[in-house]
């Protein structure tokens, strides 16, 4: 068994580390710290941030890939199926669901298949019946098990919360605890803790139930829908954040240089983004993805496993999305840089002979921060939704990859069945909705606090 990271894994971990570094940097600037304090004073923003962190947690769990060597496969019989294949930590946690593939559709918490099948009994007569599911062990006492799961969830979440209270105030722990309980803290920690309890209890319940049932049912080929929805989190979050990571340096560099240097630099950059933005977004993405598909078909040596192929395709898709989406931010940054460079403090810095790079670093970039931040969070939800549409059009992620778009795409014909098979679609939409809603609510709050136009 050895750790083997995919390209996107490396990028997502790099992003997390740089986010941590960034938050450390801003925690030293009292001004910026105060701004973030104001953002999280809203309980909606706090709860949304916790939900987003929860999604990020699943993304990170799914972004540590292990490769089992042939040797360990011999010694441990249950890992034989992983030989040569890469599995993530999330796959290991849900190993029971991976193995438990049914024959076909089954409803959430069902014990039998969804459609009747023809069976022939010993005497040779045929009849139609609902076949029992293979990997469901009906638990007699659903209530008792649920209570047990809720209890475990409460214990886990309260451990987190107590640790956090202790970290916030080491000396007056009991005092701090009482204050949080009554909701008298500066930031709405009570809401945060309630969200944590809610999320942890729900997920422990789902997890414990998943040993006995297919909690969200199974799809056409009998795959567990809960597992698929959880795996899709990584795809959605990755497309949302990595695209901005790729697009950001380009947009900032071009936008700032266009606004600051003017002249022919400005003309060239303006021409570039007008040209790119005049092409309809979906078509440019489609053309890019078609090119990529042909290129990957002609270079099968680039990847060893199907997982790596899907990952490379995801990476290309993210790059194409990045190329098509930098123009909007670039235009905003150019206009803002133009405005800032006319203000007296920049003129004064120039008069003092301060270098161009220092001016950019010290005067321009800090004043652009709010635009960058707002567009990053605004783009995130748009990109998560776009993934579903692109996968539907056929230019999204690899068809073998778990994503909400693929789930919707595969399940949309099931609505025509009688009775309807609704759970695949439902799960994909709900998982997507919660993520996008949380991102939208947080971005709303960030916008109201950071946008100087809202000062009045």
């Amino acid at each position: 068994m050895k750790l083997s990271l995919l390209w996107t894994d490396i990028m997502v971990w790099f992003l997390v580390i740089s986010l941590l570094a960034w938050s450390w940097v801003i925690s030293r600037s009292p001004q910026v710290k105060k701004q973030w304090h104001t953002i999280f004073k809203s309980s909606i923003a706090m709860a949304s941030a916790i939900v987003l962190l929860f999604y990020l947690f699943f993304t990170l769990l799914d972004s540590v890939h292990l490769r089992f060597s042939a040797q360990s496969a011999e010694s441990q019989s249950q890992t034989v199926q992983y030989e040569g294949e890469m599995v993530s930590l999330l796959d290991l946690i849900f190993a029971h669901n991976l193995k438990g593939t049914e024959r076909t559709y089954s409803a959430p918490f069902a014990t039998h298949e969804y459609a009747k099948s023809i069976i022939v009994d010993k005497r040779g007569t045929t009849r139609q019946a609902y076949l029992p599911l293979k990997y469901v062990s009906k638990s007699d006492d659903l209530m008792k098990k649920s209570l047990y799961a809720v209890f475990i969830g409460l214990i886990i979440s309260s451990l987190f919360i107590l640790l956090h209270i202790f970290w916030r105030n080491r000396d007056g722990f009991w005092n701090e605890f009482k204050k949080s309980w009554r909701g008298e803290t500066l930031l709405p920690w009570r809401i945060a803790y309630l969200t944590v309890i809610f999320l942890v209890v729900i997920s422990t319940w789902f997890y414990m139930m998943s040993f006995n049932y297919h909690v969200l049912g199974t799809d056409k080929v009998g795959g567990d829908v809960l597992y698929q929805s959880l795996k899709s989190i990584r795809t959605g979050v990755l497309i949302g954040i990595l695209t901005t990571l790729i697009m950001l340096p380009v947009a900032v560099f071009l936008g700032v240089s266009a606004g600051l240097f003017g002249g022919w630099v400005d003309d060239v950059i303006q021409y570039l983004y007008t040209t790119l933005s005049s092409i309809p977004g979906v078509l440019l993405i489609a053309a890019g993805v078609l090119v990529m598909q042909v290129m990957m078909d002609t270079h099968p040596g680039w990847f060893e496993t199907t997982l790596e192929r899907a990952d490379l395709r995801l990476l290309f898709l993210i790059m194409i999305l990045g190329i098509t989406s930098w123009t909007g931010l670039c235009r905003l940054l150019r206009a803002e840089t133009l405005k800032i460079s006319q203000i007296e403090f920049v003129t004064a810095a120039k008069a003092f002979g301060v270098g161009k790079l220092t001016i950019i670093r010290r005067h321009i970039i800090p004043n652009l921060m709010h635009i960058i931040l707002i567009s990053v969070v605004l783009d995130f939800s748009g990109l998560v939704l776009a993934e579903a549409v692109l996968s539907y059009v056929g230019v999204g992620v690899d068809p073998t990859m778990y994503s909400w778009g693929n789930m919707i795409n595969q399940a949309r014909l099931e609505m025509a069945r009688e009775p309807m098979v609704w759970w695949s679609l439902f799960s994909a939409f709900v998982f997507m909705f919660i993520l996008v809603l949380a991102a939208n609510l947080l971005s709303d709050r960030i916008q109201t606090v950071l946008d100087p136009r809202n000062k009045s």
Binding site: S278, I279, I408
Partner: protein, 325 residues
Amino acid sequence: MFAYIIRRILYAVPILIGVNLITFMLFFMVNSPDDMARAQLGAKQVTPELIRSWKEERGYDKPLFINHDSEGIAAVTDTLFVQESLKLFSFDFGFSDANRDIGSDIKERMMPSLAIALPTFMIALITNISLALLLVLFRGSVLDTSMMIIAVMIMSISGLFYIIAGQVLFSKMWHWVPISGFESGWGGVKFIILPVLIGVFAGIGAGVRWYRSIFLEQINQDYVRTARAKGLSELKVLFGHVLRNGMLPILTGVVVIIPSLFMGSLIMESFFGIPGLGSYTIDAINSQDFAIVKAMVFLGSVLYIIGLILTDISYTLFDPRVKLS
């Protein structure tokens, strides 16, 4: 005015050349003329002579960017890129892989696209603006806050959900309208209702928020305070001043998309089986028909640039402060 429009159109030419360059490079990055010939001629014994004659027939025998055999200006013009671009500029889109004339296909499919997109656009514009005005009138009230929360929720649901849920509810369960299909003329109204309603509803969240923020920006201005001080009623202030002054930012956002309505909606058309340009594009993407994708990219860019020019012109018509120069 006339000279200005001419200049704007001339300014569009380098942009369109850039668009052509991008699509051309994407196109020939994946398949060279040789590959195209092989694919078109089929798996039969493909001899180099056959390929050469096929390329000559179609004009693909020229070099991509620079023709070293020619002298002077012909070294640049007698190339595949210039020939292909000239064809596109004269709206000659060539033939698809299935050997159909793309130009006439586009002409045929424009109308169904417009039959969906235009009503959606108009109804959405009117509903969104009226709802936004209503919210601005009752700003800060429970109605305003709760509607804003609902708007965020509407925004956060994937558009695919609205389509699927709408089809299941209105067509499958209640049988109010047919699930998909298209018919030109008044008989086709029953096919249009559902996609239009879904399109309007899916955009209502983002739309209302956008218009509301435009109106709120106006409502804090001095002229509004003056109007109130004159003793005008809040309704008169809203319609006579806020709406009129808000029209300018609305125009910027709205006029630019009007020409693009011809392109239709990819998702809507393919779900509802409407033979418009959107479903045409999706089919082309799925069958990897690059000639159609290229034509649609060019058409989309042309329409977008027309939209930009229209925006500038409408500015001068509505805002006396803006002078074209």
